[in-house]
Assembly symmetry: C2
Homo-oligomer: 530 residues x 2
C-alpha cells in the first residue's frame, strides 16, 4: 500500500494488553534455510524483460569466486536463482600487498535486475530513499566473515569494491543467504494443474505469499515490511489455500484489535518492532476488513472450537468497526464518503469510488451479520435492517437497468463499482452475470489500474459472476505477463499497458514481492480446484 | 608518509616470534575519556582559515539538541572543541507519526571544517577513498543508541538525515565521544614558555603526539594508521620530551626487528592488526633509522639496565641495516643510490637527494659506531674506516668551499643536502654555522616543500648550526601558520606558499593530525629549554 500519506498524530490509541499478549503468544517461529548463489551474472539489455533488463552468465564461474580479485570500481553480481528474504554473509580477504587501507564496499540487494542498473544517488522521489536496498561498508581488517545485519528481499547481490588501494585486491568466498520466513514448506500440499501457465502462476503466488510471511503477514518484505489490513485479508485467504498457518492470522487479528483509537477504530496498518504501534493512517474499507478477515477465518476453520471462541472474543471489535461505518450511511441508505477516511479500492484516484464503497459495505455487512448470528447478538436485526436499506439504495438508486451497470458519482460508469457490487451479491446471480458481461463488453479492457489488489477483485467478480473463461483469461494476462517479464514473485504495482512504470519515479524503490498480489493461489484453489 | 606506492609482494619475510612476543608484551593500555560536544555549529566561509572555511555557532543550542527534529537532507554539526581520536555514539529517536521507513543517516567525521564541505562522491584521487571518514547507516528500529563501531579522528561530527519519511523526524541526544590514546596525560610535566606563540606551538605538538599514540606510534590516526619507521624516530624523540612512554618505543622497535626480509632488511612500515605484517615498502633511510631510534632510546635512558640489554639484543638487527647500506657505498666513499630503495628526505622528487642521502648515512653511521662501542663489537673499527671514507668523500668531493655549500647531482645546490650534512656533523661546528648561514642567504625561503618532516630537519639543522634565531623564526613561521589557519593538531602536509594544496587532489583525504609534524615538542625542549 502506498501513495497517500496521512498524518493524524493527534489521534489517541488504546492498547489492550490482554489482546496484545495473545498476539505475542501467537508469534510464529521464523524458519531458516541456507542458500548459496548458483552463478555469477551480468545485467544485460533484454527488451522482453521488465524495464528492458535481464541477467546472463558472464564467463566467471561461481566455483572460482575466490580467484576473482576486485579492485576499485570492480564488481560482481551473485544470482541466488530465486527470490528470497533473509540475511547475507560472505567471507572477504585480500590478495597482493598487505592491506594498507580500509576496504570500502557497496552491496546492492535486488529483487529484479533493473534495481542493479539504477543509481540510488539519482533517486529523488517522495518515498523514503531509506528503502533502497544498498549498504556501504568499511572494513578495517581482513580476513573477515561479513554478516550484514539487516534483512533484505532479493534474488541478486551486487558486490562492488568502491576502493581498496592500488596495492591489493579484495576476494570473496562462501557467500550465503540465510532465509527468513514463517511459512512452513512442509505444510504445503502439492497442487498439480494441467495448464502449465496456471501452474506457474500458482507457484509464483505461493512463493510471493511465503516470502511475505514473517513475524506478521508483511505487505512487502523489501518495502513497507508491515501489517496492512487490506493485504492481511488477501494473504489470509491465500494462506488457508496453502500453508494454513492459523496462528499467524490470529496474531494479526489480535494486533489490530488490541490497538484501536479511543473511539474503537482500527487503523489501516500496525508496526510490531521494536514494539507494537498502530499507524495513524485510516482507510474506510481497511477498518471494515477486520470483519471480513474474522469471517474468512471462521469459514475456513468453523469446525475448530478455538476459532469459534476467537470470533466471540473479537466480535465486539468487529461490531465497533461496523457501527462506526454505519454512521456514514444517510437515511436513504447511501454511503456518504469522507476524504479523511478515504475509500481505497485502488491506488488510482482518477475514478469515483462512492458506489464501490457502497458495495464494500454491503459485502462486509453480510459477513458481519453471519458473525452476529454465530455469537447470538440480540441486535442482529438492526444490522439486517441496515443491510436492506443500503442494498435497496444500491439496487434502486445506483443500478441502471438499461445500461445493466452501476453508476457512481456524476453519471460515471467504472469497473470498480461493478466489481464490488457483484462481490457484495446485492443483485441476483443472473444479474451479476449480466453485469460482468456488460462490464467486459463496455468497460474492458482494464485501463490505468496498476495494483494487483484491484485486478484481484476484478478477477474474483468475474468468477463470482460465473464468467470463468474471462476470469482465467484476465488472470493469465495480468499475472502471466509479470512472469513473462521475469517475476520470481509478484509485484506491488504493475500496469500491463506501461510495464516499466514506477509509482515512485524510479524502480529502485519498487517492491517486487508484495502480498496483495499473491491471490492467484486463492483464486485458482477456490474457483478452479475445489 | 605517502606519495609513491611500492609493490614488492614477492619479497619473503622472516617472523622472529621471540622478538614479536616482546612486542606483544609491551603493548600499551589504551586510555579512554568521555567527551561531549560543546556546541552546534555551521561551516562558514573565512578567508583567514584553511581552505577558506571555519565554523560558527548557528543559534542552535547543544542543551536543546533533542528538540531539533531533522527531516530529509537536514543536518547538524557537533563541535567537540578539540581534536580527538575515538569512537562516537548518539541516542536516536523519532518524533511525529510512527516510524514507517528506515532512518538513513550519514555521519561525517572531520578534523578540519573543509572536510565537511567537500563531497566524497567527487573524490577521485589515487589514494583510497576508503579513508574518507564518512559512514552511511540504515536504522530499522527506533529508539536506539547508535555506537558507531569504527574509530575516527575528528573534532567535528556532521549528522545528516538522508531520509526519514514525510511522516516523522529524527531526533538526537546524548552524543558522546570515547577517546582512545596510549598517551598518559598524568605523566606529562607542564611546560611554561614565556613566548605565547611558542607555548601554543608546543601544546599543539603535544596534542598531535598524544593522538598518534595508540597501539603503536601511528603516523596518522585518520589516515594510514600504522607504524612508519621515519615517523617513529621523530615520535620517539618527542615522546622522551613529554610522555616518555619507553615501552611503546620498545614495542615498535621489536615489531620492526621481528619482521625483516630474509636478507635482514627492515621495511619502512608495519601493520599490527589483525596480525603483525610488514609492508613491502622499503626506503633507504627508514631502514637506517632503526639504528637512530635505538640510539636515541639509549641516549634518553642510558641509565636503565633494561635499555642497555635492549641495545645488546637488537644490535645485530641494527648492524644488518648498516651492512646492507654500506654495500651501496663505492670504493671512493660515495653513496650510489638505488631507485628501488629510494632515499626519501621529503615527498618532493623535484630535487636531487644523493648528497642528502650521503649525509644521512654519516649521521646514522656515527650513531651506529656509538652502539658498537656499547656492545663491544670487535668489528667496530671497520665501521670507523667506512665513516672516514664516506665523510672524506663528502668533504672533498661534495663540499664546495667557494659556495660554502654542498653540491649534489648535476651541480645542484639544495637545502636538503646542507641540512643532512649539517645534521651529520661531517664538518666542524664553525663550518656548519657558515653552511647554514649561506643556506639561509642563498637557498631560503624554503620552496615547494610540503612536509613537516623536511621542515623539522631544516629547523633542527639551524639549531645544530647555532642559528637559534633563524630556527625559531622558521618554526614559528611554519607551525605557527598551521595554528593561525585553525590547526588543533599538526598536519601531514603543509606548504605555506599554498596552504590549500592537497597532495591527494582533495582535502577530504588529508590527515590533519600526523605524527611527523609533532616535533616542535622535541625541538623546543632540546634547544630552548634543556
Amino acid at each position: 500500500m502506498a501513495f497517500t500519506f496521512q498524518i493524524n498524530n493527534d489521534v489517541k490509541f488504546r492498547h489492550d494488553e490482554v489482546l496484545l499478549a495473545k498476539a505475542e503468544a501467537n508469534r510464529p517461529e521464523i524458519q531458516h534455510l541456507k542458500v548459496e548463489p548458483g552463478r555469477i551474472v551480468d545485467v544485460v539489455e533484454d527488451s522482453t524483460k521488465l524495464n528492458g533488463y535481464w541477467v546472463a552468465e558472464n564467463g566467471k564461474q561461481i566455483e572460482k569466486l575466490k580467484e576473482y580479485g576486485l579492485r576499485r570500481d570492480e564488481s560482481l553480481i551473485l544470482d541466488f536463482g530465486d527470490h528470497y528474504v533473509g540475511r547475507f554473509q560472505v567471507d572477504i580477504d585480500s590478495v597482493g600487498s598487505p592491506m594498507d587501507a580500509p576496504l570500502m564496499l557497496r552491496f546492492k540487494f535486488a529483487e529484479m535486475p533493473v534495481e542493479l542498473v539504477q543509481e540510488s544517488s539519482e533517486y529523488n522521489g517522495w518515498l523514503s530513499k531509506s528503502w533502497i536496498q544498498e549498504e556501504i561498508v568499511h572494513i578495517d581488517e581482513l580476513p573477515v566473515t561479513l554478516a550484514i545485519p539487516r534483512r533484505y528481499s532479493f534474488r541478486y547481490v551486487e558486490i562492488k569494491v568502491l576502493d581498496t588501494s592500488p596495492k591489493w585486491q579484495a576476494v570473496f568466498s562462501s557467500p550465503v543467504l540465510t532465509t527468513e520466513s514463517s511459512a512452513d514448506m512442509t505444510k504445503l500440499s502439492k497442487v498439480t494443474l494441467a495448464d502449465e501457465q496456471l501452474q506457474k502462476i500458482y507457484d509464483v503466488g505461493v512463493k510471493t505469499l511465503a516470502d511475505c510471511m514473517q513475524d506478521v503477514f508483511e505487505d512487502g518484505p523489501k518495502r513497507d515490511r508491515r501489517l496492512w489490513l487490506g493485504d492481511l485479508r488477501l494473504q489470509a485467504l491465500a494462506n488457508y489455500a496453502t500453508f494454513d498457518n492459523v496462528d499467524l492470522v490470529k496474531r494479526c487479528l489480535y494486533l489490530f484489535a488490541g490497538m484501536t483509537t479511543e473511539e474503537g477504530k482500527i487503523s489501516a496498518n500496525v508496526f510490531v518492532k521494536p514494539q507494537n504501534v498502530p499507524d495513524d493512517t485510516f482507510l474506510f474499507e481497511y477498518s471494515l476488513f477486520f470483519i471480513s478477515t474474522l469471517s474468512d477465518l471462521y469459514k475456513a476453520h468453523s469446525d475448530q472450537m478455538l476459532i469459534q471462541e476467537l470470533v466471540r472474543e473479537l466480535y465486539p471489535v468487529a461490531k465497533t468497526q461496523m457501527d462506526l461505518t454505519l454512521t456514514m450511511i444517510d437515511e436513504n441508505g447511501k454511503l456518504i464518503t469522507d476524504e479523511n477516511y478515504p475509500v481505497f479500492v485502488d491506488w488510482s484516484n482518477d475514478f469515483n469510488k462512492d458506489t464501490a464503497g457502497q458495495g464494500e459495505i454491503i459485502y462486509v455487512l453480510k459477513q458481519f451479520i453471519a458473525l452476529a448470528t454465530i455469537v447470538g447478538d440480540e441486535q442482529r436485526e438492526k444490522y439486517e435492517e441496515k443491510l436492506t436499506l443500503i442494498s435497496n439504495y444500491a439496487r434502486e438508486q445506483l443500478f441502471n437497468r438499461e445500461q445493466m451497470l452501476f453508476v457512481t458519482g456524476d453519471n460515471e460508469y467504472n469497473i470498480a463499482s461493478q466489481v464490488w457490487m457483484v462481490l457484495s451479491h446485492v443483485m441476483t446471480d443472473k444479474e451479476n452475470n449480466a453485469i460482468m458481461m456488460q462490464t467486459v463488453k463496455e468497460l474492458f479492457p482494464v485501463k490505468d489500474i496498476a495494483t494487483p489488489y484491484m485486478y484481484h477483485h476484478i478477477v474474483e467478480a468475474l468468477f463470482e459472476a460465473d464468467l470463468y473463461k474471462e476470469a482465467v483469461e484476465l488472470m493469465k494476462y495480468y499475472w502471466g505477463m509479470m512472469i513473462d517479464l521475469g517475476a520470481d514473485t509478484y509485484w506491488e504495482a504493475f500496469d500491463p499497458d506501461q510495464p516499466d512504470y514506477s509509482p515512485y519515479g524510479m524502480s529502485i524503490v519498487n517492491s517486487y514481492c508484495h502480498a496483495w498480489s499473491c491471490t492467484p493461489v486463492y483464486l485458482i484453489r477456490k474457483y478452479l480446484l475445489d
